[in-house]
């Protein structure tokens, strides 16, 4: 057992099939309003996790490449120092936390974020009558005028830690529904969640393996020095090229 947790994720690009299962799971777990076509057209759709698609090669030899992108929970986050009301801050478990009741909607953080994973609620969220009972009671419904973003499903982390404390057990990988909704939904195990401070966790081992010389690991926009808590593993195969995001 480690003193403090440092939550993080490993994303294996090689396994991702671009099925959007994580996107749907996230939408329903976190009470994200339904994105209509006009929201996408205005670039105001809210997606805490999205699949970016890239084409590699020239027709007819093209290959589709998918990269799931969620909040990278940067260790040195560009969004945090710009908030005038401390609505976003780094907690001691490595999470970049958005505090909804502090947020006044200046949108400075969204401008600062190089990954485009912070979203502003331009409208009061609405659901059709038939979907009102599917809202998750453990997650706040964000009102108009505030920012939101991936929280690594902090409600699940809180519940799992609380339950493991209650039963005097050590919280391990995937115990008690610790995983975020996207990780649970991922059919190809492309997303792996865990505690980087625990040397025995799957993510720690994968990170160690991937980040060594010649490993597959990289961080998105590593040159910015954001020190993210999400590690990506690049494609395996003949045409190994660094994802165009890097």
């Amino acid at each position: 057992m480690v003193d403090s947790n440092k939550w993080g994720m490993v994303v294996d690009i090689d396994r991702c099939t671009g099925c959007q299962g994580c996107v749907v799971a996230c939408q329903s777990e976190n009470n994200i309003p339904i994105n209509l076509e006009e929201h996408f057209n205005q670039r105001r759709a809210i997606q805490w996790i999205r699949i970016e698609r890239y084409w590699e090669g020239e027709y007819p030899d093209v290959k589709a490449r998918f990269i799931p992108i969620m909040c990278q929970h940067c260790g040195s986050a560009p969004c945090e120092p710009v908030c005038p009301v401390y609505a976003t801050y780094h907690n001691n478990e490595g999470l970049n936390v958005q505090v909804y009741n502090r947020c006044i909607g200046t949108r400075f953080c969204a401008n600062g974020c190089p990954y485009h994973v912070r979203f502003f609620n331009f409208w009061e969220p609405e659901w059709p009558e038939s979907l009102k009972n599917q809202l998750n009671p453990d997650v706040t419904v964000r009102s108009r005028g505030i920012m939101e973003k991936c929280s690594f499903c902090v409600q699940r982390i809180q519940r799992s830690t609380r339950e493991s404390e209650r039963d005097n057990e050590i919280l391990e990988d995937g115990d008690r529904g610790l995983n975020p909704a996207c990780v649970n939904a991922c059919a190809s195990n492309s997303l792996i969640f865990g505690n980087f401070n625990d040397p025995d966790s799957t993510v720690s081992k994968m990170k160690e393996d991937a980040m060594q010389e010649g490993g597959r690991g990289y961080r998105l926009m590593e040159n910015l020095g954001t020190d993210t808590n999400v590690i990506y593993l690049r494609k395996v195969g003949e045409s190994v090229v660094e994802a165009p995001h890097g």
């Binding site: 801050y89 505090v99 706040t140 609380r162 404390e165």
Partner: protein, 200 residues
């Protein structure tokens, strides 16, 4: 008469009317300020100072006194999930009917409850205790901590925040349940004060 001497003048009818209007307007402003102040003080204290400070009216008068003090039932008998879940939960009418299918025939509330039970409907209790928006309060963790710390049973922990509900005829909120209150208690008990402990 010395020129420039003060001469009291009788106000004309027009002036009187103007003064009257001014008086009414000032009185209106005064009442407005008092109402606003009452609202501000009420919200600061976390409960109303004039209207409804003795708790809201419930659809059925449920005397906690009778059930808890006279009959000696535990809080956890009805609020069943309080030791296991985030919410304390209010029981379904089926639980009431375990006794009240034969007890309390002549009481108005019981008749009402029985007819609701037969129709398969629930009682729409008015919520008394409410934490501010964006707060996720978990009963289970608090009950567990205090019962371990003080070495008491779960039912004796409730009064820490809810007051002596057992002797209340009509349940009312007796602690403001505002963030300062929460944070003070968390600090005293070395509980985490990270925002994300409650706000998510």
């Amino acid at each position: 008469m010395i020129p420039g001497d003060f001469q009291p003048q009788k106000p004309t009818g027009n002036q009187l009317a103007k003064l009257g209007v001014l008086g009414v307007v000032l009185l209106g402003i005064f009442i407005g300020i008092v109402l606003v102040l009452t609202f501000v003080i009420s919200s600061w204290m976390g409960r109303p100072v004039i209207f409804g400070h003795d708790g809201p009216d419930q659809p059925i008068e449920f005397p906690h006194e009778t059930h808890v003090e006279e009959l000696g039932m535990d809080c956890t008998f009805c609020h069943r999930t309080v030791e296991k879940e985030a919410a304390a939960s209010v029981p379904a009418t089926g639980l009431c009917m375990t006794c009240h299918s034969s007890v309390g025939d002549d009481l108005e509330g019981i008749t009402k409850m029985r007819s609701l039970y037969e129709d398969g409907r629930s009682i729409h209790w008015v919520r008394v205790h409410r934490v501010p928006d964006h707060v996720h309060f978990v009963h289970e963790a608090h009950i567990r901590y205090f019962s371990e710390k003080d070495g008491v049973e779960a039912k004796d922990v409730c009064a820490t925040c809810h007051g002596d509900v057992a002797s209340m005829d009509k349940v009312q909120q007796n602690r403001a349940l505002k963030m300062g209150d929460c944070v003070n208690c968390h600090k005293q008990n070395n509980a985490p004060t990270d925002c994300v402990t409650c706000h998510y």
